[in-house]
Amino acid sequence: MIYSRALNEALHRALGEDARVVVLGEDISDPYGGAFKVSRGLTTAFPDRVKTTPVSEQAIAGISAGLALGGYRPIAEVMFGDFLSLCFDQLLNHITKYHAMYAGQVTCPVMFRAPMGGHRGYGPTHSQSIEKHFLGIPHLRVVAASPYHEPYDAFADFLAKDDPVLFVEHKLLYPKHITAPTDGRVGELLASHAGSEGVLPSVCLSLVPREECALTIVAYGYEALLAASVVEKLGMEDELFCELVVPAQIAPVDFAPIDASVSATRRLLTVEEGTAGWSWGDRVAASIQRSHFGRLAKPVEVLASQPTVIPGARRLEQEMLVGAHHIEQKIREALS
């Protein structure tokens, strides 16, 4: 099933199974069903608990906060993740603060769904992956949609816990089929789940067993898909073997599966589509250089997009955003 469809079904299911779930966002009413159609059918099926909102991102976030404090489980669709910038105050100074600031008297479990990412020529304000600015907000969990994880699991995780969650959905995943590991494989790749208790598991992918891999790659979202294709290609064509670790939860980082892989490979490359500089991978590198000090064969490499605006022109966008060719080049460097 393609990702956007699975997401839509997951929303239907969450609303159906849990009466606390409320969905709100811009232009989500039927028949339109949201800019990416992920919310199709929801206002029809659950008219009381699903509401299209005015173009008011601060209020969407703040109203969600109130709903959550009031015992509900709001899932807010932010039309483009780029607009999360307008929710930043609500996230930083309200939603993620209430629980700790009020000494545990309340919880504020809001989930934001935010379509991020480029490669579609949408230009500077509709193509970004701005999650890096939200990583490290104390008490915020950030989860990334992935081609190897069922979206419902992210909702179930949100509904089972009591924290706010930012769910980052790369737009290019929407039309892609979900290929969660089955029988220990994803296509040609060996696949397994790994991770710490209570955290959404990471998926580990490799052509050969970990012990034969010379490099660990961690990548999330759409970049995980690109990285997997490169891992497969380089393994098949050049016998360059890597293990790819694809987390669902990207903040806080679950280091267990990364540690385990790096212990075997002694090399690490992080890959993300956000711009370089205080990016997701910087945190991973800062931690791994410490926990694996003296045991790495190479320094940790962080691959991220160029720190500038994302051009509208596809030819410029391709140079600027991390693509498969950039990943391939980095892998070759790391293994050279």
Binding site: P54, G62, L67, L69, G70
Partner: protein
Amino acid sequence: MEAFQPDPRLFGRPADDLDARYYRRMRFIRRFEEKLLQLFEEGILAGTTHCSIGQEADAVAVMAHLEPGDHAFSNHRCHGHYLARTGDALGLYAEIMGKDAGVCRGIGGSQHICAPGFKSNGIQGGIVPTAAGIAWAQKLSKSNDVSVVFIGDGTLGEGAVYETLNIAQLWSLPLWIVLEDNGWSQSTPLAANFAGDMRMRFEAFGLPVSEIESTDVKAIDEVVAADVARVRETRTPHVTILHTYRLCNHSKSSDARPEEEVKARWATEPLVIHAPRLDGGAREAIDADVESALDEVIEHARALP
């Protein structure tokens, strides 16, 4: 709302008549804050704090009409609102003193207070959509509770407020906005912060508005009683504008307002207006009650770990 039992010396007894009860509660808030400022002077307290001296009538009148299931949201200037809602002097003193027995275990401090049915935050305007969200929750739950949020005149500068007005009206949320216009935003007079017409700011979104310029708790009481009843019954939003005045500094340090202006307002502060309705003996008894109760609370709070 948990059954916190306020000290009758501070909050009154069921048998009290309304005049006495309102006097007592206003006096309670006034003396609570005056003593708080004294504690600051003595160097007992850290940080800063925003007192509501002169605005006690608003808090007392509004909170008198809330039910246990209602939800009140406040701002930086939250002591009066909190005390009028809960009567919990010890929890608030201890909180501002940073004690573990504080209502937020000392984490929130003066501006960030929570109790069942009450919340405040120090970001101007940002809690207004939250109040609307609780109102929506109340509506979804088919209760007849309401959500009330206090804002100041200066907070009309924040965009989040307008985003919320639109949605509250559009979705018919039982949101009651109480605007305490004290004419100043920190050091800035209304005229330097505000263009246009205050009432129209809300009416433009279709919200009905009541308005009163008074520090008389009974006059305010009459207005707010009708307003909250309207929200509760119609499940639609309403705005009450209370034109008032703040007699203390904005926060601990001076806010550079003209001395003469402030001085003149002491002649019409809520206690001065309301006190003559009680006979001298009753008033003195209440004053003594409040004094002894607060002193006990402070002693208790100071002794806490």
